[in-house]
């Protein structure tokens, strides 16, 4: 873009003025406050400020340029070349605002936003570039030098100021931005653990961090403190509710029981009296009944005694008769007894005599003979055993029929018949002989002298036979049996004899016979048992009568002792009846026992129990009320509803702080990526050389190389390598201008733009100024420059160097 002319009509203090601009360096010279700044702003607003401003923006941006005192609008018309065309731009702000952009004879544009878009495309570079690089304000450069003079040459100051004046304003070294961002993140998340999304070290509100509390942590503590307060308040409300509920329950219980107790207290005395009276009535009633019973019984009792006495006499008479008959009956019983005894004696004697007869018939056995016989039998057995021990087995066989006489042991010989094929066999004890015709074969055991043995046996058997004959018994067994029978019979005889003697009862049999004869003269009677029974009955009857008489007598004596007489007793009855009636009347006026109770005692016990219960309930109520009062005293200042609302607010605030932190982290990541990309391709490549070139020109090549930190000169190379902060003020001013020109050259290298400078030589000495003019003319050879100065000598020097004076602004 190349400026051709600008017209202010009006703008600021200018009513209507046109300035024509040319290629190369245009110099506008005028005194201070002469409108240079107005012109710069008019140009700036023409290119960058829309006419469609809201009132506040109009007020802020344009009001100051409205002509005083009553101007209500400003207008600028700008002619320029761009994209091969000549453009006319006219803008009016304020009353009658309008905008118009036309390229040559083409269709004009009138839409303000459309015009701004088109202008932006024609300007190519962004607004900031134009503003901070190409529209260099006078104040900015001079401020830099003023600050350097005032504030000294501390590194930070100069660096920042250089950034503001010498570098691209707004640019920041990546490292510095990264450092600040890191600090910001650290501060934002101070004592906050991003991993756990909780306070570092788990230090919640119970043990909060006191120092280095970042915004996230602070927001967290705030909301959690509120939450804790809310929980406390809710807990308090619940406690109050629980106490109230309990109180209501106890009150209901109390009130339910109160009517009964109140009534009971009223009835208590009356009912207590009732107990005594009821008892008295009961007692008197019983007494009267008892006395009346005596009154009724007393006369009768005396009569009863008399009648019973007579009855007793009659009974005694009857008893005598029965007794006499009973004596007779006993005698009869005794007679029968005598007869029985006599009969038994007779029978015993007969039995005894019979037994003696039997005994006489039994043979007697001599015991010694019997003993001897036993021994002999035993000896015979022993011998037989010895013979049996010499046992032989005989076997006879014959080829023809024959008869053989055999003898086994001591047995008698016997004849056997043998047949061919039919052998004969037998056992023989000790000896066996077989005789056939005149042949006798005898075999005997060789163990002993069988003959002697057989001889002993035979002798023993003969002796036994003799003894048996002497005893008259066939055998030992018979002898033993006979002996036993004899002995038994002797015993029986003895026993019967004893029975007989016992039956005699130490009396002779003749005496008994005589007594029996005497019994035949007794009279007949009833059965003794019947008489005994009747006598017993009569005894009992008499006893009963006597007892009855005694009882009645005792009664009558007792009554007489107590009451004297029936009349006196009747008087007593009358008195007691009167007392009873009085008590009953007294009872009638006492309160009745309430329904549902069997007795006054039951009721009073129930009343006492209820009163005790009620005291307990009252005690509990008092406790509950004290608790209620205590809780009321602890009522929090704020309600749960208020706290919930505030907690919602603080929750949202915490979320916002968290979101802010996340934004910082994203920015950090993005910065790393952008910085890395910038290192790969530096958009400001060549700037250092350009700065060095211009600086060298301005310093007569004293300094030929410049090291940049970002876009800020950090070191310069001359005779020595120097930090830029150690340059003199004049050199620093030259460096600032050189950087400005280098940046403009960089930005305008592909565009046909222009550079505005406002008194750039203010603090340069004439030599430096001359070199600066030279450098500037070299710059302007390729690009349009508009330079404002209030110094005529500067303007003259520039014009002399080839610049075009464009008249006073």
């Amino acid at each position: 873009m190349k400026l051709l002319s600008i017209r202010l009509h009006p703008f600021g203090g200018t009513t209507d003025r046109t300035i024509t601009l040319h290629d190369g360096l245009n110099v506008l010279q005028g005194a201070n406050e002469y409108g240079k700044t107005t012109l710069v702003h008019a140009l700036w607003h023409a290119l960058n400020t829309s006419t469609d401003l809201v009132p506040s923006a109009l007020e802020k941006n344009m009001r100051r340029w409205f002509p005083l005192p009553t101007g209500d609008h400003v207008r600028v018309t700008l002619c320029f070349e761009a994209e091969g065309s000549t453009w006319t731009l006219e803008k009016t702000w304020g009353a009658g605002r309008s905008a118009r952009l036309q390229a040559g004879n083409g269709a004009p544009m009138a839409d303000p936003s459309g015009i701004q878009q088109r202008l932006r495309s024609l300007l190519r570079l962004n607004e900031a570039t134009w503003k901070w690089v190409l529209f260099t304000g006078q104040a900015q450069l001079s401020r830099t030098l003023e600050h350097l003079a005032k504030e000294g040459t501390t590194l930070d100051d100069v660096h920042g100021l250089l950034q503001g004046a010498a570098a691209i304003p707004g640019d920041i070294p990546a490292a510095r931005l990264r450092s600040v961002l890191d600090d910001r993140i650290d501060a934002h998340y101070s004592n906050w653990d991003r991993t756990t999304n909780a306070p570092r070290g788990g230090r919640g509100i119970g043990n909060p961090w006191k120092n280095k509390v970042g915004p996230v942590l602070a927001a967290y503590y705030t909301k959690e403190s509120l939450r804790a307060e809310l929980e406390m308040v809710v807990g308090h409300e619940r406690a109050v509710d629980a106490v109230n509920e309990r109180s209501a329950r106890l009150t209901a219980t109390f009130q339910k029981a109160e009517p009964f107790i109140t009534e009971g207290r009223t009835l208590r005395n009356g009912l207590s009296s009732r107990i005594g009276l009821e008892e008295k009535v009961h007692r008197l009633t019983n007494t009267v009944q008892q006395l009346m019973a005596i009154v009724n019984a007393w006369p009768g009792a005396t009569q009863v005694i008399t009648a019973k006495a007579e009855e007793l006499e009659r009974s005694a008479t009857e008893l005598e008769k029965v007794q006499a008959e009973l004596d007779s009956a006993r005698k009869h019983a005794q007679a029968q007894h005598l007869r029985d005894v006599h009969r038994r004696i007779t029978e015993a004697r007969a039995a005894w005599q019979e037994a003696c007869s039997k005994l006489a018939a039994l043979p007697a056995v001599d015991p010694q003979a019997l003993q001897q016989l036993r021994k002999l039998e035993q000896h015979i057995n022993d011998l037989q055993i010895q013979v049996e021990a010499q046992k032989l087995v005989a076997r006879l066989e014959s080829t023809g029929a024959r008869s053989v006489t055999v003898q086994s042991g001591t047995e008698a010989p016997a004849s056997i018949a043998l047949a061919p094929g039919q052998p004969w066999q037998a056992d023989a004890a000790g000896r066996f002989s077989a005789t056939v015709d005149d042949l006798q074969i005898t075999v005997q055991s060789g163990l002993e002298d069988v003959d002697a043995l057989f001889g002993k046996l035979e002798n023993a058997r003969l002796h036994r036979a003799e003894l048996l004959t002497a005893l008259g018994q066939p055998s030992l067994a018979d002898a033993v049996a006979a002996a036993t029978a004899h002995v038994d019979q002797q015993r029986i005889v003895k026993g019967l004899e004893d029975l007989y003697k016992a039956a005699l009862q130490d009396r002779a049999e003749e005496e008994w016979e005589a007594a029996v004869k005497e019994l035949t003269a007794l009279p007949a009677t009833r059965d003794g048992a019947v008489l005994e029974e009747e006598r017993t009955r009569l005894f009992k009857h008499q006893a009963g009568i006597r007892a009855e008489i005694d009882t009645k007598r005792t009664q009558v004596e007792g009554w007489t002792q107590e009451h004297e007489s029936v009349d006196a007793l009747m008087e007593k009855v009358i008195v007691h009846r009167a007392e009873l009636s009085g008590a009953q009347q007294e009872l009638a006026v006492l309160p009745a026992l309430p329904h549902g109770f069997a007795s006054v005692k039951d009721y009073l016990e129930a009343l006492d129990a209820r009163e005790r219960e009620q005291d307990g309930v009252k005690g509990q109520l008092d406790t509950v009320r004290r608790e209620h009062a205590r809780l009321e005293g602890l009522t929090p200042a704020r309600t749960a509803e208020e706290l919930r609302e505030e907690l919602d607010l603080k929750e949202r605030e915490f979320q916002r702080r968290t979101a802010e932190g996340q934004a910082l982290l994203r920015i950090q990541q993005r910065l790393a990526a952008v910085a890395a990309a910038r290192e790969a391709g530096d958009p400001l490549q060549g700037l250092a050389d350009a700065v060095a070139r211009y600086f060298g020109a301005l310093t007569a090549d004293r300094y030929t190389r410049v090291e940049l930190e970002g876009t800020t000169p950090g070191h310069v190379h001359g005779p020595v390598r120097l930090p830029a902060t150690q340059l003199s003020q004049g050199a620093l001013g030259s460096l600032a201008l050189a950087t400005r020109l280098a940046l403009a050259e960089l930005y305008l290298r592909n565009d046909n733009g222009f550079l505005l400078l406002d008194d750039p030589f203010t603090d340069l000495d004439p030599q430096r100024r001359s070199r600066a003019i030279h450098a500037l003319m070299q710059f302007a050879a390729q690009r349009q420059v508009v330079l404002f100065t209030c110094h005529p000598e500067h303007a003259d020097a520039l014009v002399e160097a080839g610049a075009t004076g464009v008249g006073e602004p």
Binding site: T129, D171, R176, T251, E632, R666
Partner: protein, 374 residues
């Protein structure tokens, strides 16, 4: 001639508004008693026979004695037959030793202001007819059972109007998922056998506008708003009940201060204009306004919004704001501030290109500007 009743409830005298600054807090606290005064005046103008406060006249049991006396004084101004004040769940009556109600009764002694703190019936014999009120006060702040059960079995002589007064949630009308606020059902109320119920507890009025006939119950709602949650201006019921059961009812507007909350997302100038137009429709000097604004605006609109908020702050009774409006940095603004090729230009342009977090660019700009200022 019908019996005329003015029915209110949930006045919550003594509500502290502690989260608000002093001046507005005092105004709001005062409004609660002032609105009650207006109610009494309205009742007198309409020659109501009864003024019924169906619970929660007071916000809590620990209200100062001076406030109780002040409330009684206001109620004493009623010229009708009686003012019946039922104990609600916030000003519940746990028993005869309740300090609040003892103070109330002491202050009301000798007047026609009657505290209903126990289940009871109260008869009035007027020229227009006899009325029996069946009072069902709350014995505590919370309760799982309704207090109205006894009314169904209570004696209801013929020839009288039977009116129940109770306080608690009505199923379907309010939210009481845990059944903690003496929950009643419409069926229970209907089966109680009274002509109608005068209820309190829900801060929203019932029946709905346009309802004709004799409703099962009336709920007046709060008499003057107490927070942004109350979206109506404060109401009471004026009820005419004939001895034959005929009913005429009229909803009265009784509050003088409104609360409004507006939540808006601002992304365009039109959104700001719409906001301005909406709030302008309210009565600013008598409105407490709460704005919850979010969104993204460019610098100019943000400034415009700031100006608007400052203006609203001066016009409205009180303004609270919760701002989550991010400044929207535009490419033009980046270009305006930072020359091409500079690190800030590159970084901000890159951040602005993130469609999910365009606000990051503004945050980065703030840091860069702080650096420049440093």
């Amino acid at each position: 001639m019908p019996i005329r009743i003015l029915h209110t409830a949930d006045n919550h005298l003594g509500l502290p508004f502690s989260q608000l600054p002093d001046g507005i807090r005092e105004r709001l606290v005062e409004e609660r008693i002032t609105a009650l005064q207006r109610l009494v005046c309205t009742a007198n103008e309409r020659q109501a026979h009864f003024l019924v406060v169906a619970g929660d006249l007071f916000d809590k049991l620990s209200v100062p004695g001076a406030l109780i006396a002040q409330a009684v004084d206001v109620l004493k101004g009623f010229e009708g037959e009686a003012v019946l004040v039922l104990a609600g769940n916030h000003d519940n009556c746990v028993g005869p030793e309740s300090m609040l109600w003892k103070t109330f009764r002491r202050a009301a002694e000798g007047s026609n202001v009657i505290a209903l703190t126990e289940q009871c019936t109260m008869d009035f014999h007027l020229d227009e007819g006899a009325v029996r009120f069946h009072a069902c006060p709350c014995p505590s702040r919370l309760g799982s059972e309704p207090m109205t059960g006894w009314v169904a079995g209570a004696e209801k002589p013929e020839g009288m109007l039977h009116i129940g007064i109770a306080h608690g949630n009505v199923e379907g009308l309010g939210l009481d998922a845990d059944q903690r606020y003496f929950n009643m059902t419409e069926a229970q109320l209907r089966d109680a056998g009274v002509h109608t119920w005068l209820l309190g507890h829900i801060h929203v009025p019932a029946p709905a506008p346009g309802t004709v006939g004799r409703p099962v119950y009336f709920m007046p709602g709060i008499h003057t708003p107490d927070s942004v949650r109350c979206t109506h201006p404060g109401h009471a019921w004026y009820i005419e009940l004939g001895m034959d059961g005929a009913c005429h009812h009229e909803q009265l507007t009784t509050g003088a201060i409104r609360f409004h909350r507006r939540t808006a997302r601002l992304e365009h100038a039109n959104d700001i204009v719409a906001l301005e137009q909406q709030v302008a429709a309210w009565d600013p000097p008598n409105t407490v306004l709460d704005l919850r604004l979010s969104g993204r605006l460019d610098r100019a609109l943000l400034n415009q919004l700031t100006t608007l908020l400052e203006e609203l702050r001066t016009r409205f009774l009180h303004l609270t704001t919760e701002l989550a409006v991010e400044e929207l940095l535009t490419p033009a603004e980046i270009a305006e501030r930072f020359p091409d090729g500079t690190l800030p230009h590159a970084l901000l342009t890159s951040l602005l290109a993130d469609p999910e977090h365009p606000g990051d660019a503004q945050v980065a700009l703030d840091i860069i500007q702080d650096l420049h200022r440093a």
